[in-house]
Amino acid sequence: MKSFFTQLFEYNHFMNNELIKAIVERHDLVSDKSLEWVNHILNAQQIWNNRIAREQPPYGVWELHSVDELSAINESNHQSSIAIIRNTELTTIIGYTNSKGHTFQNSVRDILFHIINHSTYHRGQVAVDFRQTGLEPLETDYDAYLDCMKSS
């Protein structure tokens, strides 16, 4: 199970990086919405990593960073998630309070899967936005990614 999650986080790290690269390259054309969503993907991963580590997250969920910072944030998020996979029992239950003050519980396994699933959901939205602004969306399918990794 841990090696499966490691593989998913590598995929997530790679796809976020591809997206950040495309955004940096076409900064002139990229819409505010795409910027909001890619920031939101990174902020959410940060916040969940910190909930598991029981630390205070430094970012708000819709906070906007400068485009030049995104790649470093993605890298740091990835390293934290990989450390969580390595050092934490996946069945551990994490209690947390959301931005509205409600308290909830989820297992580490479910939080990790949520991070992956949430990122994919919003990358889908960025793809729509790219197409609307005349940019070519990225190929982000998991099977295509695996195939690309094998041939590289």
């Binding site: 998913l8 949520h114 994919t120 959901y121 939205q125 295509a144």
Partner: protein, 150 residues
Amino acid sequence: MKAFFNELFEYNRHMNNELIRAIVQNRNTVSEKSLKWINHILNAHELYNCRIEPAGYTPPAPWDMRALEELAPINENNFQVSLGILRLYDFDTVIMYTTMKGTHMENTVGDILFHMINHSTYHRGQIAVEFRNGGLEPLVGDWVVYKRGK
């Protein structure tokens, strides 16, 4: 691992069903794109099921459109076939297939099953944007929220 994938396919079935229900209820206002994407989610699921476990019929093309009434039964059938695959197949079994773009691929059953879940989530995200643009309330589809209710 198989138990976890059972949960993922239950989640996928649930979220698709919620979406199909919302689309049927709002059939007069739902956009063409939302219809195209929900059909695509179901077609792709069926197509990948057939790639792992060949069926005795020609699977749908990725962008085929069906009648709204057919969507819920197709979603249910896709789910049942995937559960059967989970029971019968070793996750490490390698499956060879050719994509619609003509690319030859070899991936394990485990990787294909994750791709199916991930692909559905990706397009449900896109439908959420369409819903909001068309004045409909998007569904909350977060995995952690879904699991809290379990």
